[in-house]
């Protein structure tokens, strides 16, 4: 007993200074970014504008704003300022080295239904991928638990800065991931009809259990079932990988049958189902811009994916679906713009549209007073691949641009004989 009480005191003693320290660190970070060309993300563009940042949020944005005393000034004249970019689906923090199994915590391949898993339980806040990714202006990502199973676990939306996950967490468990192409040979489900039957049965079983339960309460349900129950009630989103033409149709059919709050991640069949996607009202995550078109398609078929979907009136954002190559995700946006996506729509696909699809646009996706201060100061047009991030602010704090790769560069700047 005594020991426990002593523990409690010890915890409080440690806790108070930590809280104080965190608060002090944050409040010390009042900052002003002055003189830059601000692309707010809402469609507004401000020349020679100022952004005031206080307590982790954007205090003011506009022209002719005075800088209060005590604010750290970041001079951004001649530079372009964007909201932090959002990678709408990745495995950042779950994969340190691709081919080394022990460093990977994405994809629990032991079951066809892993809805009871949480991405948050695997995220390593000190993964070297985080520093590398944010150096390309990506400040927020939705981490998926995986995509290897037909039904995968809960995602976590995180900001790419912090020593502990709770310092990074934006929204925990707001979506699951379905994969209509996660069939395995020789194991049920091994075909498309198998996958669809498996999905339907999984949802029917929960509906059935709920009907049977006398008090109709969720506590009758397993962890797995509770997650799917939330999906059925529309409390969480369902991000669905659907590669071919018929997979996209099946995803939409499934979404309609069970009234799911679905977001589609279509693959090579996207152009065959534009009408059906549009009618479904489901937004799309684009991650097939650089997929190689088949022999029956034009060479530029997938370069046109985002542009054509936008033309049809389908809301969209981009997703890397990877860890190490997440920093390359904006390259696909530049390519899409080259092949028909309007520039401003591409810009928003990386920021405000992405935040909307993730349901975090109240706090994220644009440079507006009151929103979380995730901001990148760029040397030039951020959609030019050759442009660099010169300053990066995450939750109001200027973060280091020294990732593992800059440290390696510096270590080998000189070679000893």
């Amino acid at each position: 007993m005594k020991g426990i009480r002593a523990m409690k005191h010890f915890k409080i003693l440690v806790f108070i200074p930590i809280v104080f320290f965190c608060y002090a660190a944050l409040s010390a970070q009042s900052a002003a970014i002055t003189g830059g060309y601000i692309v707010t993300g809402t469609g507004e563009k401000i020349k020679n504008g100022t952004i005031l940042i206080k307590d982790g949020r954007i205090e003011k944005v506009g022209r002719e704003i005075g800088v209060p005393e005590g604010y750290k000034v970041i001079n951004a004249s001649g530079k372009t300022i964007w909201p932090g970019r959002i990678d709408t689906l990745s495995i950042i923090g779950l994969s340190e080295i691709g081919a080394v199994a022990v460093t990977n915590d994405a994809n629990e391949k032991t079951s066809t239904n892993t809805a009871h898993l949480r991405a948050a339980d695997g995220i390593n806040p000190e993964s070297s991928v985080i520093g590398v990714t944010r150096n390309n202006g990506i400040t927020t990502t939705q981490v998926m638990q995986g995509r290897a199973a037909p039904i995968n676990g809960l995602t976590a939306i995180i900001d790419l800065d912090g020593r502990r996950l709770d310092q990074m967490m934006v929204a925990d468990g707001t979506a699951i991931v379905l994969n209509l192409n996660a069939m395995e040979r020789g194991k049920y489900p091994s075909t498309r009809p198998g996958i669809m039957a498996f999905m339907r049965q999984s949802f029917f079983d929960i509906q059935n259990k709920l009907e049977k339960a006398e008090d109709k309460k969720e506590n009758e349900l397993s962890l797995k079932d509770q997650t799917l129950d939330k999906a059925l009630k529309g409390e969480i989103s369902v991000f669905t990988f659907c590669d071919a033409n018929q997979d996209i149709r099946n995803a939409i059919t499934l979404g309609r049958e069970f009234s799911l709050k679905m977001v589609l991640i279509p693959g090579r069949g996207w152009s065959r189902q534009i009408k059906m996607i549009k009618e479904s009202g489901y937004p799309v995550l684009v991650n097939s811009t650089f997929s190689i078109p088949g022999e029956h398609l034009t060479y530029d078929h997938n370069y046109r994916m985002a542009g054509d979907l936008h033309k049809a009136g389908i809301p969209l954002a981009f997703a890397s679906c990877t860890a190490h190559n997440a920093r390359q995700m904006p390259d696909a946006v530049s390519m899409s713009i080259t092949y028909g996506l309007p520039y401003d729509i591409g810009m928003q696909a990386l920021t405000l549209s992405a935040a909307r699809i993730l349901g975090i646009d109240k706090d994220y996706g644009s440079i507006e007073a009151g929103k979380i201060a995730n901001i990148a100061v760029w040397s030039g047009d951020p959609l030019q691949i050759s442009s660099r991030v010169d300053n990066l602010i995450i939750r109001g704090k200027e973060v280091s641009l020294q990732s593992r790769q800059e440290l390696l560069r510096d270590r080998y700047e000189e070679i000893d004989d």
């Binding site: 691709g98 081919a99 650089f290 029956h296 060479y299 530049s334 390519m335 050759s386 390696l408 070679i415």
Partner: protein, 418 residues
Amino acid sequence: MKTKITRIIFALLVPFIICTAGFAGDLVIQGGTVLTVTNGVIENGSILIKDGKIAAIGEYAPIPPGAEVINAEGKYIMPGIIDSHSHLALNGDINEATDPVTSQVDMADAIDAHDYGIYQSLAGGVTAAKLMHGSANVIGGLNTTVKLKYRTSLEEMRIPGVRQQLKMALGENPKRVYGSKGKQPSTRPGIFATLRQNFLDAQSYQKKWENYEEKKAEGEKAAPPRRDLKLETIAKTLSGEYGIDCHNYVHNEIVVFLDIIKEFKVPYVVLSHSFGAYKVRDRIAESGVGVQTHTDWWGYKAEAYDAIPYAIKMMMDEGIVVDICSDSEDVIRRLNREAAKVIKYSDMSEEDALKLITINPAKILEIENRTGSLETGKDADIAIFDRHPLDSFSKCVMTLIEGKIYFDINSAEKTALK
């Protein structure tokens, strides 16, 4: 200074050459910004093409009678892009992964001139590529350098007189492929033992043949040794008839490999991937070998964990010939964007960035005397972009190989299955 004088000479000569040289079959690309890559930029330039070669290049000039004209006003004209590392058009026949040493195989035997990937690459401005054996084996097969003459034939595509490079591979891939079968090599020492033993065997094989030829020349009776394709290819590599293209990643294996090629006096070697090369770039510069690498790949395996996007510039500063290659049927279509990415990470001129995908790979493939830059006398391998090729919103609008149009955005093939 040299560039200035050359430009003045061009300005004086080009109108003369173009006016007098015109006859049917000639082609003139007129207007546009010419990025020669080796002789600076010519605004409003003109290129005269005769018999598939660049006959003249300079400032704007009148069109010779009878010549076909490509109007490139407002466009950017650059040398055709060259990919020094590709597995395109091989129909999946990439790895003869049945033995750690398969030097008897030749990738030319797999090449399909009708592969749609060739057209998709032409649409990205690529005109030449080295089509390669994979990295499963310590010693793989012979790579073949080709021009991307879609829907012609292997014979048409092959560049005559170009030294083939024998693929070798160090590190994780051969370790995994053979280690998982309980076979040597399962470690890096195993890989190097395999390599050394085969080099020694090839030397003995070569001796046998020399002894036989000697006896024959002296009129002695002698039976010829068995012709062994595997050892013959390695022997020809040691003598320089073939080069070596060595797949490697970490710096320590690079150093060991450089020591081995020095020990065996291998005449021509290039390094592939080489993500650890920046750490030992002094050793690489000293050995004179070129490096074909990638801009920002990393982390997909342990040996790629220390890859950094700054490496290309660090190696260039050391005097190493470096290029950006694709090793991918996707990335080959957008190598100009990979070159732009180098400028993001390192201060570099646009011309130096373009060299990484044109003249430098040409040097590594030993075809720089005929392609890789826009110069008089070279093959008319040309890519035309609607904006500067390092602009992220640029796209290739036309690709020519030896003066023939293989891609034109205005009449682009809708599909491969037409």
